[in-house]
Symmetry: C2
Subunit: 286 residues, 2 copies
Amino acid sequence: MTERTAAETAPTPDGTRYELDRDTTCVARPDAPGVLDTTLSADWAFGMGVNGGYLLALAARALGTSLAQPDPFTITAHYPTASRPGPAEVRTEVLRAGRTLATGTARIVQDGETRVHVTGTYGDLDALDPEVRTSARPPEFPSLAECAANGALPAAFRRNAFMHRSEQLLDPATVRWAVGEPSGRGEIRAWWRLADGRDPDPLALLLAVDSLAPTAFDLGMRGWVPTVELTVHVRARPVPGWLRVSLRTRNAAGGFLEEDGEVWDAAGRLVAQSRQLARAPRQRQA
Amino acid sequence: MTERTAAETAPTPDGTRYELDRDTTCVARPDAPGVLDTTLSADWAFGMGVNGGYLLALAARALGTSLAQPDPFTITAHYPTASRPGPAEVRTEVLRAGRTLATGTARIVQDGETRVHVTGTYGDLDALDPEVRTSARPPEFPSLAECAANGALPAAFRRNAFMHRSEQLLDPATVRWAVGEPSGRGEIRAWWRLADGRDPDPLALLLAVDSLAPTAFDLGMRGWVPTVELTVHVRARPVPGWLRVSLRTRNAAGGFLEEDGEVWDAAGRLVAQSRQLARAPRQRQA
């Protein structure tokens, strides 16, 4: 993907690169068309694996280098096995390069195994019809100040490197599970931005939808909630500023659950919609 | 995919096979592992192309023959170009065969071009935890008799072969666009079943979510609404009987729209959830 915005190309105030750009860098292998080398950074590790939103953003950026269109309009990742921090190969394939849309696949491979398989259809967000007829309303939750005062994540979360890559200020109503009082509604909402001040862009949206605590916790479940599949529709380029991320589960059944996400930007635009299928945790809260 | 239910293996009363089973038959090519030959049937044509739900069901069945698990739990199709009735090749690839989940891809190829690219993670619906904690409620709409009396599709639709493969009785409140009075809510709901009496199963669910009139019509748009990408989560095996299919669009913007679907079975279980990204029609209703 060509680096398009000042936020992406400018160095941070201390002269380094922004974390998300640094850690999604892929280098094309000159002797193997479509194959790129990368390193999955331990800075995005959560528990024993690497965050699925980060992996999706990395694969999306690699796929973007192969396609004539810059932005993922709809992108789906399947996660057959957990990825580990360290070297990885990204293999991309172009399925079609159309006039306004291009489709391709990217797989993240470690030890010869596909750890993540991504299919995306890309276009140019800046070329879209300006008409917006969205009937969805932004999630209503307390102000940034109120969430900052009362919506902090439990300290246990901060032990994961991944949690230091973003700031997330939760709606206090959706973080009561942290004190043993899940609401039972299956909702998690937060103000969200990258911790190092990088402005949001489509890659950041792919990350944001998989960055909050699992909605399963608000249903009274505890434990690991591995993502089976994650699909994101990027519908507009977000303006700089905080994002509002809203996640909801309505169908926890059979040991699986869906997590539906919406991301609204600082201008009040619905910029991304997501859905993932995840395994419900095996351990239930008493 | 092994044929598992009486509905799939039994002949119809007149001794032929059910249409969906007949027209998703793929024959493995003995000299090319993972490659199957098939024919896209003109009976599932709509307009100039072939229905996307039918293509997804066909690819899902082909992929199932390669995987050790029988049922698509989450499956995504991208449609880079329109498919045509006639011979096609399905190329499958196994990405991982796990103990409870298996992941693979299938592509429908015509004239050397990938027309549909599918990625699916499969499992065994019959092996799932029986616990159901779904908080979603079934869509409320009028009885079968009321929909049958007042929810018929406009005659123009019946000119497409595809419309004869299923019976759909629409909620009268969501078919006013047919008389020039779209509700503006972007909703289409219908009682739905296969026309030849075949019981629903996971393949039929993949079809059902892409079988109704586009929600765009209820937003006052008219014209072709091509699917860019369609993802379906199959969450339970449906019981025999009518399905209730509910589709909704909340984010029509930039020349694209999402279509969120739910399918409820005759026992009141939420058996499938879907979302597609589609191009909005270029022609607007006055």
